[in-house]
Symmetry: C2
Subunit: 201 residues, 2 copies
């Protein structure tokens, strides 16, 4: 790796690594301070890159925002919420694990920044139809995965009940994260987990 | 009422009416476009007032934001969510009325701007401790009112169960509004209402 001693950001010969770094940095800034409050220049600085390099990968701030949803937020929802429910011994156990696992993480981090999907959903859904659809498709993917899992556990469950129950689970997770953010406490997630388990038993 | 023919905002002799108008306009702008995306100048323009008049009532943008939460958002939550549950024949009936009533309103308006409390909770909770506490106190007031109503319906209900169930109701309302905003559909609210009723019966 070459080094120079100027303040100019070092050139990298790995554009894909820089693209990934820009996405990481932008996802973090959008999550902590919001999309609108984050300037492209904030991203350039935090990624230690140049405006030209950022523009090469993401011609507009909106393109960067949509890529953050597709390549950072959606995979995070897959990993923290969809996969654990798919692989648990039952839907009920999976949901308990997801809610309490996120609560554990929040307590370890000692600061609740909230759910990235939720944060972007509320900030961007009215601003722009493309953002709205991108956010909605992540909510829908989660809702459908839950609904299928509920149905595979209990094939006798009415399809519309599985769908409504999946909606309640996604909604209560999303709202409990908003309450956790406002109270800086993971308690709303644990309270919802207990009640949802009652409903599924 | 005097009139002049210049473009300069008309002076008013009723400072309290102007204060109320500024709050109405600011609540509407914060709700539709967010607190950060709204400038003090946007509020001045939309209220047809002057920077001096706004500054007289609200020395800072933050003072205006806190007044919007205390004097516009909190009373709206009282009216749309707390009072209907307090006055219904049962907690279950009250909650069904609140969720379906909001769903009806969203369908009439044909655009879902989301829950003002939720929107501000996610945008401002990390930015500032005073905002966080103001938002949290509205969530808490709602949660406590629900918990008391559940308990008065069923005095045999364990206090911690009433508290957890109240948390699930507030969380699912808040999350269903986020999903409604992303999908521009009131269906998530109706689905949650059906499932919550099952849980309370």
């Amino acid at each position: 790796m070459t080094q120079d001693n100027t303040d100019r950001p070092r050139r990298t010969n790995n554009p894909q690594a820089m693209r990934g770094k820009i996405l990481d940095v932008a996802a973090d800034l959008f999550q902590r301070q919001g999309y609108n409050a984050t300037s492209v220049q904030d991203v350039v600085r935090a990624a230690a890159t140049t405006g030209g390099a950022l523009h090469h990968h993401f011609p507009t701030k909106k393109a960067l925002g949509l890529a953050v949803i597709a390549e950072r937020v959606a995979p995070e929802v897959d990993e923290t919420a969809i996969r654990p429910v798919a692989t648990a011994s039952s839907a009920a156990a999976g949901i308990r694990n997801v809610f309490n696992g996120v609560a554990d993480t929040l307590e370890r981090n000692r600061a609740v920044t909230g759910c990235p999907l939720n944060n972007l959903a509320l900030e961007l859904s009215l601003a722009d139809a493309d953002f709205r659809e991108a956010v909605n498709s992540v909510f829908e993917r989660w809702r459908i995965a839950l609904s299928l899992r509920l149905h595979s556990d209990r094939p006798d469950m009415d399809v519309s009940r599985a769908h409504d129950l999946a909606t309640l689970i996604v909604a209560s997770y999303s709202g409990a994260m908003a309450m956790a953010k406002a109270s800086q406490s993971a308690e709303p997630l644990r309270a919802c987990a207990v009640q949802l388990e009652t409903l599924m038993s």
